[in-house]
Amino acid sequence: MRRNWGVGIYSVLILALLLIPIGYTIVFSFNIPARTNVTWRGFSFDNWINIFADPRVVAAFVTSIGVGLLATLAAAALGTAISIALVRFRFRFRTALTVLLFLPMATPEVVIGSGLGSQFLNLGVDKGLGTIIVAHIMFCISFVVITVRARVSSLDPAIEEAGRDLYASPAQVWWRITFPLLLPGIVAAALLSFALSFDDFIITAFVRGTTETFPTYIYTAAVRAIPAQANVFASVIFLLAIVLVVAQQLSAAARRRQLAREG
């Protein structure tokens, strides 16, 4: 078979384009520490060893993780309940509700952010951690609903009826049948929510008050000098994500092999 070199070169170029910024971030996390982290001075583990040296980086990172977890949990729970309601029940304003739910995805973040910002101001709500979490839950719900709804639609209602018929109480039907069957969708939605929340800058900027999340901290720090520890945290997150994906792939492959053996 004749090799098509064009496709190969094209793929390498695209991958390089995608990976260069990430590579840059990781490489510069090993830079010899100084006041700025713009020029390469030489290889060192100092930033990794002194990962907690800059308290502002740590605080911003912890805030972002906390906001991400809380927003994800709340959005996953609410979004799953909304998905079930949208698929299983016929009620007034069902279509209107569906449109409203997807509106945050279609609206520019600047508009949502500035709108929310002035809303909180009008209502006299103090901007801070609370308003950030509420805002993140709001835009994450849309993504949870879109992901979980597809899963709920593919679930035959007769399966839950079979559970009820086989002596399972409503709570047992939920925990033993419905929830495990929806779980892959909920997990996917939760991962997406966490990534969106952790990453969000625009909306957060309008509702954060004086609270710093990781993205807002980096943004303000960039004006002066980004501490190398920021590169370290970014690298950690990236590597963690890679490990998670690989682990998930490996366990799926193991499960397939096991099923093949049993078959």
Binding site: E161, A162, R164, D165, L166, Y167, A168
Partner: protein, 377 residues
């Protein structure tokens, strides 16, 4: 509560059940008693209310009015998981995230009965699938899934087993085989089976008692042979097999039979086989009870003759040949003739008479208004 029943199952009694959905009435004042240990089939076209009846008994729907009693106990207001009833769903509804074994053990575990896995293995042996206990439902064929669904229900020894078109998704050959298997399993476990189907052949093969349902009401109920040989309404006569129906006035009524005039021909029907004995009545006879004659028969007592007519269609189907005969003033008459000789006995366009023994005729209860109703189906 989901109490265990004895091995003979329990009576099911439906008293004045009406079920209304927004915009239509699915079931109208249904009264039905199914004795313990019987294999009962609810037969009807789609939309006749048979599946709704089943879901009411399972507790998946609640009736608008009326009571449901299982083994004499009123269960109308209880939830599905509190009823001693199990269902084999049309789509099987196996739990895709559990192994076959866990599927079958599910109900036993929920009721807190000891050794759910042992009982599940036992039920799987009954349906001859114990060797696949470790597989997931998706790895089984349709017929195997069907048997798992059956094992998952009977393992609980329910007072009543509900079967919702359980063979509908199987191909014809497998369906025939499963019909026999289901019947023998019912004999073995001795539970009360309530089987819902639109397949008249399936209902007749398997059930002790068949209830024909139409538009939310039971038209006729009885043993399969009885329903076939003596249908009481035009709907039953046409839904269960085929029938030749003729409508005309009763011109005389003797001690044992009535005479009905159809397009100038007098036809006799035994009184005990006719639902009505005066006015305009519809009488009928099954196509296989008819004899096709190429010469005018000599008039004899105890035999009805119609004709002459013209054969308009001959279709050979292996064991029998179907003839359509156009009778002037009467309509089309269908005749099934067994293929005792090679080839068709008569050809298209032939002039023929049909005759049948008086004892094979039946008279229907429908008045003309009712007949229009069932023809609209």
């Amino acid at each position: 509560m989901a109490g265990a029943s004895d091995d003979s199952g329990a009576d099911l009694e439906l008293v004045g059940i009406t079920k209304q959905f927004p915009g239509f009435t699915a079931i109208e004042n249904l009264n039905l008693t199914i004795p313990a240990g019987s294999f009962f089939a609810l037969l009807g076209p789609s939309g006749c209310g048979k599946t709704t009846t089943l879901r009411l008994v399972a507790g998946l729907e609640s009736p608008t009015s009326g009571r449901i009693l299982i083994g004499g106990k009123d269960v109308t207001d209880t939830k599905p998981h509190q009823r001693p009833v199990n269902t084999v769903f049309q789509s099987y509804a196996l739990f895709p995230h559990m192994t076959v074994l866990r599927n079958v053990a599910f109900g036993v575990s929920r009721r807190g009965i000891p050794d759910p896995l042992g009982r599940a293995h036992e039920a799987l042996r009954l349906v001859e699938l114990d060797h696949l206990a470790g597989r997931r439902p998706a790895q089984l064929s349709g017929g195997q899934q069907q048997r798992v669904a059956l094992a998952r229900a009977i393992v609980n020894r329910p007072a009543l087993l509900l079967l919702d078109e359980p063979l509908g998704a199987l191909d014809l050959k497998l369906r025939r085989q499963m019909q026999l298997e289901l019947k023998s399993i019912q004999d073995e476990v001795g539970l009360t089976f309530l089987h819902v189907t639109h397949d008249q052949e399936e209902a007749m093969t398997m059930a002790d008692t068949v209830a024909v349902m139409n538009r939310g009401e039971i038209e006729q109920m009885g043993a399969p042979e009885e329903l076939y040989e003596l249908p009481k309404t035009a709907f039953v006569a046409n839904f269960l097999g085929q029938s030749n129906l003729f409508t005309g006035p009763v011109v005389s009524s003797g001690e044992n039979s009535i005479i009905v005039e159809i397009a100038g021909t007098k036809l006799e029907v035994p009184k005990e086989r006719a639902q009505r004995h005066s006015g305009t009545v519809t009488i009928g006879v099954r196509p296989e009870k008819l004899t096709l004659l190429t010469t005018r028969p000599v008039a004899a007592s105890g035999v009805n003759v119609l004709g002459p007519g013209v054969v308009t269609d001959v279709s050979f189907s292996g064991v029998s040949t179907q003839y359509l005969v156009e009778m002037p003033g009467v309509g089309t008459v269908t005749v099934f003739a067994q293929n005792m000789v090679f080839g068709p006995v008569v050809n298209r366009g032939s002039e023929v008479w049909v005759s049948w023994t008086v004892e094979h005729g039946f008279g229907l209860a429908d008045d003309e208004r009712l007949e229009e109703r069932s023809e609209a189906v």
